[in-house]
Symmetry: C2
Subunit: 231 residues, 2 copies
């Protein structure tokens, strides 16, 4: 009986009964009605993780910045623009979240003031743009009293492992997925990736493969690390 088989399969999923929040894509920080600061994140890794978590039986909420990917089938997807909007969507219902995966490339800074009208180009040859630090979404989540198992990403162009370990401790995370975005063949906008999974007990490098396959491996890692905590 197919219905029973399917049900059984989901019963035995490594994340069955768990609620997973995943942020994905870039954020856009408006300068005025037409201009913004953003970054090259395609959202592919976060979307692949959402798919893999759902396949592992989890109830997934995908919180996505502006990307060109179609919203994944049968996954609750909330679209946001700015870091502030992404934080709000992340905190909404967080008490029910078991695992929080911060795959989005959140803009560190946003313009101090957003101009209501398009800023006219003046005659000035140079311009100073005043920026203010954005909320740190993953650190905010990890600072909560009953925090979910919190997974961060570290996209770096050098000293990848060093920065990842530092971030793990400093932000009170449970796991960091570190990758080297200085390589053109993997990472941002690429369909492939190679990462190092860093936890408080050590680091393991997963070889280069499709983001789809890597996502399944990462969800396995997360499920393995999550279970022993007996929350």
């Amino acid at each position: 009986d197919i219905a029973l088989l399917t049900a059984a399969q989901f019963e035995s999923g490594t994340l069955t009964g768990k609620t997973v929040f995943i942020t994905a894509g870039p954020t856009r920080e408006a300068l005025d009605p037409v201009r913004y600061i953003s970054n090259h994140s395609s959202g592919k890794m976060g979307y692949a993780l959402a798919q893999a978590a759902a396949e592992a039986g989890a109830k997934v909420k995908l919180i996505s910045g502006p990307v060109t990917l179609p919203p994944p089938a049968r996954i609750e997807t909330i679209t946001v623009e700015s870091a502030q909007e992404m934080l709000e969507a992340s905190l909404q219902g967080l008490a029910h979240c078991d695992i929080f995966i911060a795959a989005a490339a959140v803009a560190d800074y946003r313009p101090t003031a957003v101009s209501e009208h398009k800023i006219k180009k003046g005659s000035e040859e140079i311009m100073e743009l005043h920026l203010v630090k954005n909320p740190d979404i993953v650190a905010t989540v990890a600072s909560m009293e009953n925090k979910p198992f919190t997974v961060g990403f570290a996209a770096e162009t050098r000293d990848v492992l060093k920065y990842a370990k530092d971030k793990l401790t400093r932000k009170n995370l449970d796991m960091i997925i570190a990758n080297d975005v200085s390589r053109n063949d993997i990472g941002f906008n690429s369909d492939e990736n190679a990462v190092t999974v860093v936890t408080h007990s050590g680091a393991e490098t997963l070889p280069q493969t499709s983001k789809r396959k890597l996502a399944t491996q990462l969800i396995d890692h997360i499920a393995n690390q999550y279970t022993p905590l007996a929350r």
Copy 2:
């Protein structure tokens, strides 16, 4: 005979034998390997103009910033990222260009220095970003001695006509296509647009329609204005 009919049709095209350069989409100005400043231009208007110009018999070179549109069939398309790259591609072969249509939303400023490595988030709550003015592509083209018939766009959120007329004179353009990007139903990212065509002899408003249909009307306007100049 279909081949002859097709040839005849092209012979009678309003832009047959003319070379048209069209810039489209946004530009991206890198802050570091992952971050950039950009804007909400989708490239739809520029791509529609390229299609309409080709249908009117012109040889078209489309110079496109990063967009998600597929490159149009049978049109030479050059993809660029920054304003500096777009300027270079615009000047290349400009001596053979009869009509230059600047539909791209070029970033007015770019970061003074591009960091080779990803800028680390410091502990600072605020940050100053130093920007320098980008080359003005349409003004550079219009300043050439044997300049092509040069068409600019004015995307404004207020006083649309006033700014458009000012831009026409100041930049030595032959035509400005002005639109109000403060409206959500038209303009950037929308499939529809409504514009006012401004020349040295007056202004005419074209009512809201699809960018596809509007492009055909605009190419007609451009061809009408271009011919009497007897270059």
